[in-house]
Symmetry: C3
């Protein structure tokens, strides 16, 4: 049976985790958009001070960093630092034919701890709490990559 | 027929869009390089003020943010916030066997609106125009990911 | 023989390069963590000044940019600007059935020049040296994407 096929439960598990992460990442962009509209600021380009339909009363303060928008951008960057790597690592790792149980724990564990990390970051929990929720995802990524590397080398 | 094969027009369509986006992203890095050379500035590391063959007359202003270089970096980051996700989402979505017509519209529509967004950003069009050209790409990404997720779940 | 299979030496070569890059990227996040602990600063969120187990004596200087932490973040961003694209480009390029010798040169050449670039950036070598070590990776990425695009078009 080919690995990359919806008949393969390993692949289906990967796809569910991967598409949830992609939707989460796409949602981050929209959260930034919505926040910039609500705050009427947090813009970054000089031309964003031009008078337009969406910005009828421009003023220079709109280019200052807005704490709410900056928080969302930090979360987005934090996702970027691992999501693309996880998406590729996961696809390669299922080629090593891990057990479905382990795959479910790791794929869904990554998604769930990343969602928890997002909520902790959004609601400004302590740095310690964020670190605690960030660590499992990083270890899962390292495990998948290292395990796939070993299979390729041996 | 395997999905991932140049005999499959769905895969070929995906590959054309994917490689165009990758070339666009690689070009962004070179645009930043060329702009830093032309502006003789926009550097970010303290050691970039050392006297070298490429920088025979260093001066501290070279470390200040340069508006032209910063604009290119914002465009590059904007690409980064969706290209990697689109590349993975597209590869997974063609596993759901969408119609070739729809795939062409979505893949080429994404590439074309992203190129238009790039030109609008580079030439400092209004925020409204940028938003208008950014939205289709984001909706295409969300559609592909959501549609693939549903196939995996059902 | 399917392309995506550990029986295919092209795929195995790709997997070795890809997983090394993913491990390198994951290591960058941990280097940032370790540096922030050693510097006791370089934080970015206002809530990181709250008194916690890991930060028993908070002070406002901890939110200032720390040169060592910022350097690691620039390296991480530089990786992000090409690793995800290389990971996808490499997977698509092996579908074009390049020779194994060329694949080994390009895949391992990318990994080695990126590791050399990392060491040059970390130890604050000149901008010229960094540029010299950055260029091969970018050209390899462009070659892979362009060559795959041509195969898809022809």
């Amino acid at each position: 049976m080919p690995v990359i096929s919806f008949d393969n439960p390993l692949f289906t598990t990967y796809v569910i985790a991967a598409t949830l992460l992609i939707l989460k990442a796409a949602a981050m962009s929209w959260l930034v958009v919505v926040r910039m509209i609500r705050e009427n600021g947090g813009f970054r380009s000089p031309e964003d001070l031009r008078k337009t339909l969406a910005n009828p009363n421009p003023n220079p303060h709109q280019l200052e960093p807005n704490p709410h928008v900056e928080r969302l951008r930090r979360i987005q960057l934090n996702d970027l630092e691992s999501f693309p790597y996880f998406l590729v690592a996961g696809l390669l790792w299922i080629q090593t034919q891990p057990s479905l149980t382990l795959a479910r724990w790791l794929f869904y564990g990554y998604v769930l701890t990343r969602l928890a990390h997002f909520i902790a970051y959004l609601t400004a929990q302590t740095h310690d709490m964020r670190a605690l929720l960030w660590t499992p995802g990083s270890l899962i990524l390292i495990y998948m990559a290292a395990s796939t590397l070993l299979t390729a080398l041996l």
